[in-house]
């Protein structure tokens, strides 16, 4: 998983993608910049982890990718084709290649349909006639996601949260997509169940060669599922790179703070070595000059208030950082390096 798949043409290429929502306020209206110009690529069979805190724009980005939201600006290319403004009939073929898994396994399944029907609908809607018939294909899919194929005729309420999430995954896989956008697919699950679904997704990456955009706030989960990671803050990507670089050599102060804030079983109460960020995320309603993170950054100086840092590579690496004063390259601590292969 540590080496990049050789395929050179990106499956998904996103450029300058933005989504601005008008927000009515009193007599006027303001612009909420949910996503404010992001660029990234996902290669076939690769998983890009999109992480950030609430309001950073990761979910909005995911919804634009699968055309559930109309972008305000920018361009989305799938397999070289511009899909930014596809709609209606033209969207159909894309749906076969690009699917989404939602966070809430309770509200994302129709309670009046059997799971068999829920999984069959995307096949029927796309006019797919599997060789052994739809019923057989659905049974096969249930088996792939670790559910009993005999439960074909059961309703969603008869399943636990983890099992429902498996149904949602089977539905996404039904049309044999090449890319799946998974929006917080495990965050509503109990810890013991979460591990089951994480392993299932890892197996699908391996066995089906699927590309994933994995959207999550949990950095530890993202680490177990992603080849590359993009960290978002206030609608922008502030750092992106290979997993090993982001987790072992984070260069943006925000990435460092995020990693440092994750509660760690091995760290005890007395250990206060972590970085304390002051304040909350600034409102995406306020137009921020300069660096979006500067209001919480301990390194911020005058330059950060006037000049917005560009997302650029340093030292010829594939790791891009949007910061005027990035961290030096060495690892944060020797402990974090332990056990991870060092990417070249």
């Amino acid at each position: 998983m540590s080496t990049d798949p050789p395929n050179a043409v990106p499956l998904l290429a996103v450029q300058g993608l933005a989504k601005h929502f008008p927000v009515r306020e009193g007599f006027g209206s303001r612009i909420l910049r949910a996503v404010d110009g992001v660029d990234f690529e996902v290669r076939a069979g690769e998983t890009l982890g999109l992480v950030g805190e609430s309001g950073c724009g990761k979910t909005t980005t995911g919804r634009m990718l699968v055309r559930l939201l109309e972008p305000t600006a920018g361009r989305i290319r799938f397999d070289g084709r511009d899909i930014t403004h596809l709609r209606g009939r033209a969207l159909r073929p894309l749906r076969r290649e690009l699917q989404i898994i939602f966070q809430d396994p309770y509200s994302s399944l129709n309670p009046r349909h059997t799971v068999g029907k829920i999984i069959a609908i995307p096949l029927q809607a796309n006019g797919i006639r599997p060789p052994g018939g739809i019923r057989n294909r659905v049974r096969e899919l249930l088996e792939i996601v670790g559910l009993n194929p005999e439960h074909y005729n059961r309703y969603p309420h008869e399943f636990s949260g983890g099992q429902r999430q498996r149904v949602g995954i089977a539905r996404a896989l039904a049309v044999q997509p090449r890319l799946v956008v998974a929006d917080e697919p495990v965050s509503a699950l109990d810890v013991s169940i979460q591990a089951q679904v994480v392993n299932l997704l890892r197996g699908l990456q391996r066995d089906l060669g699927l590309g994933f955009v994995f959207i999550a706030h949990d950095l530890a989960v993202v680490r177990h599922l992603s080849h590359r990671v993009a960290v978002m803050y206030l609608g922008k990507i502030v750092e992106t790179g290979a997993r090993a670089d982001i987790y072992q050599r984070p260069q943006h102060p925000y990435t460092r703070a995020l990693l440092s804030a994750v509660p760690d079983i091995e760290r005890s109460r007395e250990d206060r070595g972590r970085i304390r960020l002051e304040g909350d995320v600034a409102s995406p309603l306020e137009a921020v000059s300069g660096c979006p993170f500067r209001s919480r950054c301990w390194k911020a100086r005058d330059r950060c208030a006037v000049e917005e840092p560009a997302l650029v590579a340093r030292e010829g690496r594939e790791q891009l950082v949007a910061c005027h004063f990035p961290e030096p390259a060495p690892a944060v601590s020797t402990e974090e390096v332990r056990g991870e292969p060092v990417a070249g």
């Binding site: 998983m1 540590s2 805190e53 609430s54 636990s160 983890g162 099992q163 109990d190 810890v191 013991s192 169940i193 979460q194 591990a195 089951q196 994480v198 392993n199 890892r202 706030h217 949990d218 950095l219 530890a220 989960v221 680490r223 177990h224 997993r243 987790y247 703070a257 995020l258 990693l259 804030a261 994750v262 509660p263 760690d264 079983i265 091995e266 760290r267 005890s268 109460r269 206060r272 972590r274 304390r276 960020l277 002051e278 909350d280 995320v281 402990e335 974090e336 332990r338 056990g339 991870e340």
Partner: protein, 360 residues
Amino acid sequence: MPQPDREPDLADREPAPEGQPPYLTVRDLNVRFRTEDGVVRAVNGVSFSVAPGRTLGIVGESGSGKSVTGLAVLGLHDPRRTEVAGEILVDGRNIVGLGESQVRRLRGRSVAMVFQDPLSALHPYYPVGRQIAEAYRVHHRSASRADARAQAVRMLGRVGIPQPERRADRYPHEFSGGMRQRVMIAMALVNDPALLVADEPTTALDVTVQAQILDLLADLQAEFHTAIVLITHDLGVVSQVADDVLVMYGGRAVEQGSVAQVLRDPQHPYTWGLLASVPTLRGDPDADLTPISGSPPSMIHLPDGCAFHPRCRYADRTGGRSATEVPPLLPTGEPGHLVACHLSTVDREALRGTAIGAQV
């Protein structure tokens, strides 16, 4: 149900700093609800104690009985549908069976609470300062409105809300999630309670804000010497803020002890399972996680014997006892460290290494 010997639990517990007696002692707590589908046996014989200035973390998955335990300590169960048995001693006084008006006098004054979702716990219609002032006046009848407001503003400042004088006049929706949780904490602590029950206080918050709130709770505890019961599903949070841990499964305590004992020297296969299934920032990111198979039990039809046995990888090593006999909570040998498991100590020592792998 065999009754485990309760005495070692309280007697062998390592003494709290300054040797203070526990402020909260719960003995053999049982909570049942009557529902249309049957009787929910939410808590089945749980015992623990918390001394002033100490934090007990209650860990479990959904349906483990951890929140029901917290609500019982607060006397918040509806007596018409709920059966609460056992003893809940708050400062030596048993609150089980007390009338609503007597419990209400304790609640907010001696015992306060912080919930996961502050937006539903705060009234949307009143400014936050007024709500905190009201909480103060309930227990300080003679306080004037101006006094109560001054207390509210002081508390808002104390929990780190900037410009507390101005922000006191704002409504809950005007605060961010983290700030709202600070307001909740200010309201909970305005009467200087000796015991705080916090049920998933940071679960809805972003990690950087969670870190702030956990630090704030620790600072306030050091200052006010509050006893805290922290209910959470997150072992990392427990590791960072708790002194003692109670791991619940199927309404029972399966393991209990200090943080060092339970997290660094875990003895119950369920605790092993939890530790191994949580993804971390360390270890091999390319290795599969080790999940616990199956899903949590129904609290209406709890499995016979050990509630965890249908999911336990080692259930077959107990000679069938795990399916028939509820394992008693017994000392492991370490003072204060208790485990409810049929496996022999020798078996547990041998199995543990492979069960949690390189995680611990």
